[in-house]
Amino acid sequence: MKLKNIVTVILLQILFTSVSAFGQAKEVEIKTSAQCNECKEIIEETLMDMKGVKFAELDVESKIVKVAYNEKKTSAVDIKNAIVAVGYNADEQEADPEAVKRLSPCCRPDGTHSDE
C-alpha cells in the first residue's frame, strides 16, 4: 500500500511539473515556397529539430508555416534562416540556391507540382 502511494505521488508530480513548465511561446507565421507534402515534411522536421522551437505546422495550400518558439532560445530571424538553408523562401528571403539543387524534383520551384 505504501508503494502505491509513492507511485501515485510521482505520477501526479510529473503531471504538474509539466503544467507549470509552460513557457510563454511566441508564434510567427512565415510564407514559404513549399509546394507538396514532402516540402511540408522537410520544413516541419527542420524546424522541430531546432532548439527553442516548440511547434511547426505547414499548410501546403497557403504555404504558410506556423511556428511557436521560445524567445529566449531562438528568434524569427533564425527560423527564417533555417528555412532558407534547406531550400525554401521565407517571407522576403530567397531560398539558398545550393540547397534548392538538393531538393527532390517535386520540391524544386521549377517543378510543375503546385497544388492549386
Partner: protein
Amino acid sequence: MLNNLKRNILFFSCFVCSTLGFSQTTITGTVSERSSRGQLNALTGANVFLLNTFEGVSTDESGNFSIPVKSSLPVQLVVSFVGYLNDTLEIIDTGVPLKIILENSVDMDEVQIQGRRSTTEISTIKPINVENVGTGELMKAACCNLSESFETNPSVNVSYSDAVSGAKEIQMLGLSGIYSQIMTENIPNLKGLAAPYGLAFIPGPWMESIQITKGSGSVANGFESTTGQINIEFLKPHKADPTYLNLYAGSMGRFELNAHQKINVSKKVNGLLFIHGETIDNENDRQNDGFRDVPRTRAASLYNRWYFNNGRNIEGQIGVRALYDSRLGGQFGFDDEKEPDSQEKYGVKIINKRLEVYTKTGLLFPEKPWKSMGLITQGAFHDLNSLFGLNTFEGRQDNVYASVILMSIIGSTDHKYKTGIDFRYDKFNQQYNNLEIPKEEIVPGAYIEYTYNWNEKFGAVAGVRADHHQDYDWNIIPRIHMKYNFTPEFIIRASAGKSFRTPNVISDNLFVLASSRNLLVMEELKPEEAWNFGMNATKRFRLDYREGSISVDYYVTNFDNQLIADRYSSNDNILLYNLNGESFANSFQIAVNYELIKRLDIRMAWKIDDVKVTYSDKLERKPLVPEHRGLLNVAYATKKDKWMFDLTILYEGDKQLAVSRNTLYNDSQVSDNISPDFVTLNAQVTYTINSWQVYLGAENLADFTQKNVILGANDPFGKDFDATNTWGPIIGRNIYLGLRLTINNKKKDKI
C-alpha cells in the same frame, strides 16, 4: 476505404441551368493522377459510379469517362482506383466536363508514418474500442515474442503461469487469457492445446502491429471473445523491408535469431519468408530450491507467406507456419533420456509441435468498390507432450476453420453491412495421466453485422450471430458497439455483448500439472457464457503545443456460467464445477499519454480490477489477480531517432494466493496468503546508425524476485508440492544486447 471519403463539394459555374427535370443527362470528365514530378497522367480503368443508383463505368485509355444520369441532380459521383484515395463529388450541373485528380493513398500513408506520432494509438473514430500497438512500440520490448510485447501496454498484463514451465499467460480486464480471443490477421488462432504456450509462438520481429479490442468485439470473428480480442498483423510482403536480421543475447542465457527475406516473383506475386530460432541455457537457481528458474529451451519456427493479385478483381494469400518448441525444466540432474519414474529427480518436459496453413481469397467488384467478398480457410495441427514429475498430459488437436464473408452497403456508405457463414471443426485426442479425454466439436455458424455512420459523429456496429453446436444446440450471440464524437478529439463509446465458449478442461488449467493436487471434475461441465458491458471516453488534447490523450475505461464482465477451477476448497484437489452463484470482473482503467517535453513521451496508467467468483457458495477474490496495477513509461528520442531511451516502471498490487483456505503459504514475503505488492523496472537504449540498430536493455532492473516459488520443493513427489503460485517475478535482472539490420531499397516513385 469508403468511409474515409473526402466530401469535396464542387460547384460548377452554371450559365443557365439546362438540366432541370428528369431528362437523361450525362456526366463526362477525365480521371488522372499527379506523378511525383507533378505531371498529370491519365488513369485507365478507374471506377466511376453514382452513389445512389450504383451505376458505374470505368475510364478509358485516356482517362475519359461518361456516365448517364437518370435521376435528378444533384447526384453524388464516386471515383475510386486501387492505390488512390476515393473521391466523392457532388454534381449539381453536367455542363462542364470534370477534371478529377486522385491522390495517391500510398503517399498519404507515408506522410502519416513519417510524422511524429504516438506508437500506441486509441482511435477516436471507430465505434469499437481498439488500441493499435505499432512497430515502434513493439521495438520497445526488445525481447522476444508476443507474450513480452505487452510490457509497455496497460490493457494487457502478462505473468508466469507456473514456476517450472516458463509459460506466460495474459490477463485482460482482470480475466485470464483464455477469455480473450487471439487472432492472427483476423483468423481465430492459438486455441485449445496451443493456448498454454501459444504466446511464445509468435516472435516479436515478425509482427507489424497488434490491435487490442476491449469488450466483446465483432461477431464476424466468432462467439468466443469474452473480454476482448487481440489481433496480430504480421509483416506484409509488399510493405516489409526486403531483408531483415535480428540477433539477441540475454544474460539469462537466451539467444535468438530472427530474420525475414522478401521474395519478389513478379508484380502480381510476392512472398515473404520468416525464420526464428531460440535457445535458452540457464543453470540459475535463484531461489536455491534445486529447480531451474528457466527451462532449457530449443525452439525454431518458419513462416512463409504469399500474396498474389490479378491486377483487377482477385486478391489472394496463402501462408504456412510451422514450429517446434521443446523445454526441459524441473530439478537439476533430471535425465530426460530416462523414464521419469525410474529416477528421483522431478523433471518437466514440454514439447509443442504445430503446423498451420491458411488461405485468403478476396473478390473485388471493380464497378462496385464498396462491395467485396472473401473466403478464409485455415487448418491447424497441434501436438503437445508434457511431463510434470509423474503427471503427463499428451494431446493432439486438429482444427479446421472456413469462413465466407460478404461486405456491401445499403444505399450509401453510411449504411454498411458484413455477413457471412463460417465453420469450425476441432478434434482433440487427449490423455491426462491414464485418462483419455477425446473431444470433437463441429460448429457451423452465420452472422450479420450492420455499421451505421451519421455525420461522422454518431456510429454504431450491431451484430448478431447464430452457431450450432452438436451438443449444445443453437446459440445466439448479440453484440453492439456505439460511439459519439462530441468533437473530433473527444469520443465516448459504449458496448455490450455476449460470448460463448466450450472449455477445454485440462489445457485451460494446465498449470495444475505443476502441483501435487489433482483435477477433480465434480459434475458434468457446461459451456461458459458471459456478458460484457463497457464504456470508454477518450480525449485528445494539445497542451503547450504538444499532443496528448487521456482515456478512461470501465468494463464489466458477468458470467452466466463459468467453469470454476476451485483452488480454495480442498487441500488435495482442484475442484472443477459449474458456476453456482455470481462471477464477475469489473475493470477500471485510466491512461494518459503526453509529449511532456519535445521528443519525450510519457504514458501513465492505473488500473483497478475487482474480480470475484463464487467458490463453494462463498464469493471470493479470484486468486493471483492484483486489484491495482500501475504503469509509467517514459520514452525519449534524440533528433532523427538516432538515440532512443525507454524506461518502464510497473506496479502490481497484492494478490490472493491459490492455496486452500486452511493452508498458510509458507514464505517470508507473504502474510495471510496475500502476496506483497511490488515494482519492476525495465529500461532500454537503442542506437541507430545507417541500416544498423543496436540495443541494450535490462528487464527487472531492480532485481526483485519472489523468494519462495515452489512449495514443498524438497519433496516434489510429496503431497505439499505446488509450483503454481507465481505472484511475482521468478527471474532476476536480465541484461540483454541486440542487433537489427534492415536492408531497405531506396523508395522509388510509386504508382
